[in-house]
Subunit: 396 residues, 2 copies
Amino acid sequence: MTKKYKLPFSGRAHTYTKEECEMVIDVMQNADTLTQGIYLKKFEDDFKSFIGDGHYFAVSSAASALELIAQICAFNNDDEIIVPVHTYTASVLPFIKHGAKIIWADIDPSTRVINAEIFEKLITKKTKAILVVHLYGFCADMDKIVTIARKKGIQVIEDVAQALGTDLKGKRAGVFGDFSAFSFHSHKNLSTLGEGGILRVKDKNFADMIPMLRHNGHCDFGYLREQYWLPAMSNIDIPEIEGRKLLPNNFSIGEVQCALGSKLLERIDEINLEKRNRAIFLIDELSSFDFILFHREASSRHNYHLLALEFLMPYRDIFFEEMIEYGIQCAVQYYPLNRYDLYKKLGYGYADCPNSEKFFDNMASLPFQHMMSDEEFIYLINSLKKVLKKIDARKT
Amino acid sequence: MTKKYKLPFSGRAHTYTKEECEMVIDVMQNADTLTQGIYLKKFEDDFKSFIGDGHYFAVSSAASALELIAQICAFNNDDEIIVPVHTYTASVLPFIKHGAKIIWADIDPSTRVINAEIFEKLITKKTKAILVVHLYGFCADMDKIVTIARKKGIQVIEDVAQALGTDLKGKRAGVFGDFSAFSFHSHKNLSTLGEGGILRVKDKNFADMIPMLRHNGHCDFGYLREQYWLPAMSNIDIPEIEGRKLLPNNFSIGEVQCALGSKLLERIDEINLEKRNRAIFLIDELSSFDFILFHREASSRHNYHLLALEFLMPYRDIFFEEMIEYGIQCAVQYYPLNRYDLYKKLGYGYADCPNSEKFFDNMASLPFQHMMSDEEFIYLINSLKKVLKKIDARKT
């Protein structure tokens, strides 16, 4: 499908350096084990050095990290979690699976993520947690959100899937809350061969449960063994929270992916900077068009994982048609979750979130993968100018 | 830990050829997307060609495949599933998670897997399914088991994690039942970089639900769209079975792993043959020791994923100690599941399975990775002879 476009909305974000490829082959051939070995531990340690305080666990995907968070939060049936309706479905579904009641939150139209004011208005006596999604690569107002949450005893969960490496006043996204989920999916600025994620847990007691929950219940026997094979190679056990038994999963990630993740961390700040520089350049080149709006954030608070614009007049669909003429594939993101059949069937078909609705219905996400060449990037800008001029002419 | 052994019980089974490494780099650099692309489809198609009839879905692990099977089976609280107590925990836990009542089955002491007679005795009016685990790499009596199951309307699930490529009368393990799970974990004769699995589903109606359940609910809208972005990029929906809503997961596997899986299928029969030839050679070399027992199966019904021996006299622990003297690390497998803390806490702490108990308490699993060199293999045999002779001398 993507082949027919000169500039597709790519399923991947970046290529790999020669050094990264060589490392992959080295680990493939020489690692003692291909899963649950030293590269897992190294990736977690390197990630902690990169992000900051907390306990880190590499897993199969960000969705797996969120599943573990949802398990650990131990929701009862009337416990509420505040979540943005404008996000990817995998942010939210784990909490429904694990017994939370979903409270849809709208977005701040200027940043396209939740803010402290929206959060505060949705708090009830039953609010147990808030999920903040740093969507598009922009780190939300975490200092304000966390201050409010701490006062009310609300758990703060950060979905950092798109915002790896961004920061707010020098603190990296993902280090503010009680739990965070990171993604290394194919679309992301850093991908561990297409799938992968990391879970961050602040509290040590919760963190101690994760290895078991991540890997089929494996844990040490609670005593020193003289003979490594007695009574068995390892124990299998089950953590409990407030009398609730948490059933383990297999959310393991392989060693090659972990080694590659460590290596890529060395240049994620550079990738983010290059994407941000391009985004700001493109935004400024198009600043004369008064019927479109970008979110312009020239600091490291935004990594421009995605570059989206909003139409302030109803030209979005014409824009898509015209862009196809130039062989450029745009995308729409993120369908308000309440509109999907899945959420309707689960009783979450209604959301009072006008900003999310308005934004989605008028937005376009540009092809913006890091691997785009300078020539392609210039072609994108020039095509945008032509298309927007044509639309502008129609307008007047 | 493994470094201190001359011959460790390795965490991996095989290395990769130059061609396989080159393919990994090619897909890393050139694939249109690093997940959910053409290599996923190709792997599934190639796997179908290799195994036989059915619908195939590549997933993140065999545990994920079993979770999907457990979801699709839609157990009610008193529905029973017959499962071997002598298996790895990931075979069984998904069925507990998804509401089945576990009925522990014993093993046939000569083959170390369940057989038709054991199965038949455990059937009740509430038996909904049986899980057959082709443990150690030996394909169980599937023709007899399936005949009994069909008569009683019982679903047959095959756990082929260890037995990829084996066959019974020309039919490959995994093609007999209603559902099968395959593993490409680091230990396996074919590993997709440490993690990975495939699910086989016989019934088309069930198969149609899998893509949704595997990948966050993604599915087509139920109508042709003129504009690819309206109303959204894709729908998200939820399959239902007997009024039960099945919540989706993210069990995706990356493109590099899928491409590598396809490639490795070309030589899995060769790997299995080489392992089996070595196993038979070793077994025959040790045939004079009357206090040990191997399961000798010189046909393609066994791939000798693992090579285990049983002590007919209580010398197992001495054997382990002596083998350490030669720098050889053996392992014990599989702790009867009812003995683990997890199963005790879930109410499954009792099992009437004397063969499983006896076998586990007297067994040793030898280091037997495919990547073992001929020198290492000869060293293993010679060390075994010396240790067993010493034990034999003590005996008399």
